[in-house]
Symmetry: C2
Subunit: 441 residues, 2 copies
Amino acid sequence: MNTPPNDRGLPGTNLDPWFNSYAQRTAGLSASEVRALFAVASRPEVVSLAGGMPYVSALPAELITSAMERVMRESGPMALQYGSGQGTMVLREHILDIMALEGISGSVDDVVTTTGSQQALDLVTKLFIDPGDVILAEAPSYVGAIGVFRSYQASVAHVAIDEHGLIPEALRETIARLRGEGRTIKFLYTIPNFHNPAGVTLTRERRAEVLEIARRNEILVLEDNPYGLLYFDEKPPEALRASDDDGVIYLGSFSKTLAPGFRVGWALAPHAIRDKLILAAESATLSPSSFSQLIIAEYLRTADWQGQIDTFRDVYRERRDAMLSALNEYLPHLSWTVPTGGFYIWLTLPHELDAKQMLPRAVKELVAYTPGTAFFADGRGRHAMRLSFCYPTPDRIREGIRRLATVINGELDLLQTFAGTGALDAARPDSHYASPPPDLD
Amino acid sequence: MNTPPNDRGLPGTNLDPWFNSYAQRTAGLSASEVRALFAVASRPEVVSLAGGMPYVSALPAELITSAMERVMRESGPMALQYGSGQGTMVLREHILDIMALEGISGSVDDVVTTTGSQQALDLVTKLFIDPGDVILAEAPSYVGAIGVFRSYQASVAHVAIDEHGLIPEALRETIARLRGEGRTIKFLYTIPNFHNPAGVTLTRERRAEVLEIARRNEILVLEDNPYGLLYFDEKPPEALRASDDDGVIYLGSFSKTLAPGFRVGWALAPHAIRDKLILAAESATLSPSSFSQLIIAEYLRTADWQGQIDTFRDVYRERRDAMLSALNEYLPHLSWTVPTGGFYIWLTLPHELDAKQMLPRAVKELVAYTPGTAFFADGRGRHAMRLSFCYPTPDRIREGIRRLATVINGELDLLQTFAGTGALDAARPDSHYASPPPDLD
């Protein structure tokens, strides 16, 4: 081999003849340590509060089937063919209508359809990140975003949040500290609505303040908004993008308001960035699926899609209520966030408990969750977990929380029994993981 | 801005407030200079011999519609949901059957379904390429691959080919020269069957020799085979991957044998590489479309897919014959390759003609092609063009070649008239382009 030796400690590499050939960026590429556990957790007897799978069974299949039949009858060859790298015009026009619900007025020319909004996240990162560049993100942040950022060798700097979302003062301080260290900050990645995993929503006042801080510091904002239309009571404040066309790249998705199986999302980019985004998208996948895009466009043209989103809202509201009520009943001594939309609750454990260490015991008790460490780039989050209420039925959610309480309370009892004996103080590894699957399983 | 100034000369950047923020890799990201022309060339009165669009109208729409109806009836929620990052098991099993037709025996565990084989190309490049690393590729090579390679700051070293494909001696010499210069060669990218754009096929003897050279030099082979089943007379020799499990990543696609609108392709990777490829795929798009994958799997399970490929073969054979006969009739003084499958003929012009410079005149005469420069990373190819026979009907192909001959012969006449006057010796720009669209339009 003419490549330099590599000792990045990737698993199983001693059997890999190409061990010395991988790019440096693969050092950030590691499988979830809990991946095997999640495979177990997908067995039907386990209540999984771990995934981010929408409840697609609430979508009538015939709406999709009939849209698809019409598409194939009326424009079959177009659906089966390559399309524009920017995405199909007819879908991009519908996307403008959807974004208008969140206060955004954009041009159809600035919408880029992507293979899920995950691809948009990947492409934006590819466009902006040189190794070592800093991305600001909430503490905690979306596991799949952290994985992408790491895959381009970005350094993620977490910014503190509270129940009202990102804390402007913490953002200011983080920027000042990093610039003082001579670091290059490329963008702020934020999920303002029904945050994954924290379940919180950025207030209207803070939105203005965050935008002002970003503008003053010339930092681009990457606004990820897959859950915005899934509010339970009242609409969240307008999108950040609604009041800043040049400084915000907005990411939207059909995965949560329709179905993730199509893999269709989009970016609304500042005009100057838009061309580069299209070129990057074409390089990555040539074009998004014409088949998926035309079916979604036909669905949006003919079905009561807003009524369908209302149905999803009702489903998830009931499940959120079930989880909150079960938490109140079974784990009243702990604290958690109270989401007003979306899929997730963030549960904080007593400091002596480690969510990742506890997971095997939980799976044995037939309940699964995602440990908090998944949502940090820096090893934090051990004393927290994300609980998803999107997929199981209310009864199952209740049973899942009951089982979880058994595990947590059992651990706490054990700690109390052995308190002071030193038997439980063995070193705990501080590793973390970054690949997206926990969000899917 | 806390980022260093940037003077990479990207177009329109003076209006871009984020001009100084882009990653260094975006320096390789440039729009095709002929993109605007191709937009004109997509008008119906123009015979486009430029695109790589398969003739999907030869696929009966009801085969897709009925497969989709069964999928939605029998496994709708699975089709609408996120899937495995590696791809749906049932489709991966069918993919093994397809690869068996080319002599490949692999494990279903080593197949990774991707968003078109373009995504696999992107992910493999992301896994292996650090800036400055060398990728070996045929001279010429696929425009979309060159774009991907450039987007990861690879250096492409072209290796000479002839009518029998890659020349082993040229491969040996290129490797020796690059290693002598201390360069790091990461992989050989090759299209052994019905090469895009050259139309040639690597002989059986040379396949063994190329593999032997790669093995001896510990160079990974990336075998791209979208056209292998679209042979006109006899099957091409077995795939490279058929005789080397550890040294070859094989890329396959449904885009040419079924339909590109699904955006489904695959990689068969050496076992050691497979895990990293899945992680990279999950990071990029979470999972391939379950909807597309299940419909394709159902199509393969129930339809006469091999009969359908026979139909495509008949369609493209007739079109190849039409193009060859028209070339013989209208441009007998030029030379071209004679493909035995696939979509493309490579036409060599007299040295005094420049295919890119001539393109506006051709479009004015209502015929389009892709200039040879698109297929080189180093500005070569000015005196050649790719002619696609996949999409227009035989009559249109014949008319297109007639128009092309008018343009070529007109240019030659002009040159002869003004020979020696110096009037035509103005400097010609040596720029080139790399984005994939010419292959799509």
